[in-house]
């Protein structure tokens, strides 16, 4: 995280200059997600021609809306390997989804799949046809022609194919061809609608075919499923083949169980990479660590919000200039602080005393936020004797530190001298732009 923390420091200090660019980049969240600034990240993370395909694949695979960098890293790395594998992975994913659909009876599954495809659709023309996205098309598409008619012809053909003894192979090929053909037709919105219709039909066909054939031929089902999954999900804990007993009634359940476990294992792996600890034991301890980590982060946020009392005073005006369209009330916080520093001193002192009762650190922070500071009484008396020359004296001296304020803080009467001096200091700093 080192380079990024430096980045952040640069960001914070030059906030005034950078925020307008950030503003321009953030016209809307959609643009943010498809932002041009992500390209260099992609080039780093995903290499070669697989970038575009895995970009589309990664985007489409899980949810409809995600930042591209996360997807590239989260999904794209695993799917960067060759193209054939990725298409079979897509098919296996679709099968997983269908299996989970049949298991969970979720109505969202199909729409999610449709959305998946549309997104890969949307991405494909951007990917450019010259990256070698050539899917083996056993179904004779000819040269792809105009999209609609070829698709219409294909669907009854494919439905007939589903009755063959290799339903899953046809499924794989159908999915591959279905996606592969999208490159050829020109990208028009009409075709998007047609694709929608066809995909609705096709998924109706696919799911019904899958369930019927899946129940009818468990033997054919298990072999390709296990091979595809061992290819794609190699990080899952190795399932003994013995469990996949053929011909038993519990088979769909065991398949579903296995799929479920693999999905969970994938996610655990990703979470494990996130966590600082590299403890690779079982699921329960991983979950424990995840829980602890989230709790720890939440606690950190809470503590940080406690410690930044009024610290935003100085930084807020930098942002205020850059966001005129927000219509935010700009209280002119710096001026307010200086003005209040002149007036409400007694209230501030009472507040400080109250805070000191609770916690020393918070009292210090409160004072800092107001442009005040604590100092020993002796120093305060020295300085208050010569208010006009105080600034000059201190410039020439080495910077005066304060001893730990605990021994001196107890006297409340010191505060008048303290506050007088620091009011002066705030006005001096406000007026004094040149460094001496």
């Amino acid at each position: 995280m080192q380079p990024s923390s430096k980045e952040m420091q640069g960001v914070a200090t030059s906030l005034g200059g950078m925020v307008p660019s950030g503003l321009a980049a953030h016209i809307g969240p959609h643009e943010l997600q498809n932002g041009g600034g992500s390209d260099e990240f992609f080039d780093q993370m995903v290499s070669g021609f697989g970038a575009t395909w895995s970009q589309g694949l990664g985007r489409s695979l899980d949810r409809a809306v995600r930042p591209p960098e996360e997807q590239a890293a989260y999904e794209g790395i695993r799917y960067a390997p060759p193209y054939d594998e990725s298409s079979s992975l897509l098919a296996s994913r679709i099968r997983q989804q269908q299996a989970s659909d049949s298991e969970d009876s979720s109505p969202m599954g199909k729409s999610m799949l449709q959305r998946m495809l549309f997104q890969s659709l949307g991405r494909m023309p951007e990917a450019g046809g010259d990256t070698g996205l050539f899917v083996p098309l056993p179904l004779s598409l000819g040269n792809g022609g105009a999209g609609d008619s070829s698709l219409v012809d294909r669907s009854p053909e494919v439905d007939a194919r589903f009755k063959t003894p290799n339903p899953l192979d046809a499924e794989v090929l159908y999915n591959g061809s279905f996606l592969g053909s999208f490159q050829r037709p020109a990208q028009t919105p009409n075709q998007h609608h047609h694709f929608q219709h066809h995909s609705a039909q096709s998924y109706g066909g696919l799911s019904s075919a899958a369930t019927t054939t899946g129940a009818g031929q468990p033997s054919a089902a298990t072999a390709p499923v296990s091979s595809a999954h061992t290819g794609g999900g190699s990080q899952a804990p190795p399932r003994p083949r013995v469990r996949a007993r053929r011909g038993q009634a519990t088979d769909p359940h065991s398949i579903a169980e296995r799929l479920r476990r693999e999905r969970i294992a994938e996610r655990m792996k990703a979470l494990q990479e996130l966590l600082p600890s590299a403890n690779k034991t079982d699921k329960a301890s991983m979950l424990d660590e995840i829980i602890d980590y989230v709790k720890f982060l939440q606690l950190q946020v809470k503590i940080l919000s406690m410690s930044r009392l009024g610290g935003a005073t100085s930084v807020a005006p930098l942002v205020g200039d850059a966001s005129p369209e927000r219509g935010a009330e700009r209280p002119g916080s710096v001026d307010a602080a200086a003005a209040v520093g002149n007036d409400g001193l007694t209230a501030a002192e009472r507040q400080v005393a109250k805070l000191m009762g609770e916690d020393m650190g918070s009292a210090m922070q409160y004072l800092q936020g107001k442009g005040l500071c604590l100092m020993p009484i002796s120093l305060a008396s020295v300085l208050s004797c010569h208010p006009s020359s105080a600034a000059a004296q201190l410039n020439r001296r080495p910077p005066l530190p304060l001893p730990p304020p605990q021994p001196h803080v107890i006297d409340a009467p010191s505060s008048p001298s303290m506050s007088a001096l620091t009011v002066q200091s705030t006005t001096a700093t406000g007026a004094d732009t040149s460094r001496q």
């Binding site: 906030l15 809306v65 982060l297 809470k302 930044r308 935003a312 966001s323």
Partner: protein
């Protein structure tokens, strides 16, 4: 991965705007009020910067439960407020239907498991209960986590943890910067607080 500079920038900007809107820098707030306001701005900022995810929607929903904050939230998020507070109405049905389905499956599977060895059943049940307990805890931690199933919960946890990390880093950065700015100007004409050396009295 997700912690890009654009995300951090958006988060920072939103958080500082939130500070302005809730007038964090004014002096008439108590300690707790200010802490709550800062935390509120920070949370709204990460939810805004992240876009539309389940946890960010849950977070916004939690934040807007307090009526007083709702106006600030609206002003802060602008039109995003409508997007983010849109309720996923079918999200309640899905867990319920899953529970029903699981109950049916469990009944059928317990009948089948009667034939298997006893210790096998015991181990699996133990593992399941352990995992279930932890998942429940996780659901409470992640905002909006109650209405999610196992897989999406883990996804959301991952997402949420990364955003929390970015939030912590951003807040720390602002804190450092503001401290530096507060001390830089007084350094020229007055005293520093931080250095340990002493000047003779």
């Amino acid at each position: 991965m997700q912690l890009t500079s654009s995300f951090k920038l958006v988060f920072l900007k939103q958080m500082l705007l939130g500070f302005q809107l809730s007038a964090v820098s004014s002096n008439n707030m108590s300690f707790h009020e200010r802490k709550n306001a800062i935390k509120f701005s920070a949370d709204a900022a990460i939810a805004f910067a992240r876009g539309r995810t389940r946890w960010s929607q849950g977070l916004i929903r939690n934040l807007s439960k307090n009526e007083k904050n709702k106006d600030v939230l609206k002003g802060l998020l602008g039109r995003e407020y409508d997007n983010l507070s849109k309720p996923c109405c079918n999200s309640w049905k899905i867990p319920r239907s899953k529970k029903i389905l699981r109950r049916c499956l469990r009944m059928s599977s317990t009948r089948k498991m009667a034939g298997r060895a006893q210790h096998d059943v015991g181990k699996s049940i133990l593992a399941k209960t352990l995992a279930k307990k932890r998942i429940q805890v996780l659901k409470k931690l992640v905002p909006g986590g109650e209405s999610m199933d196992g897989f999406s919960l883990l996804d959301e946890t991952l997402d949420y943890a990364m955003s929390l990390k970015a939030q912590v880093d951003g807040m720390r950065c602002v804190l450092r910067t503001s401290e530096a700015l507060n001390f830089k100007a007084p350094t020229d004409s007055t005293m520093q607080v931080k250095q340990p050396s002493f000047v003779g009295e």
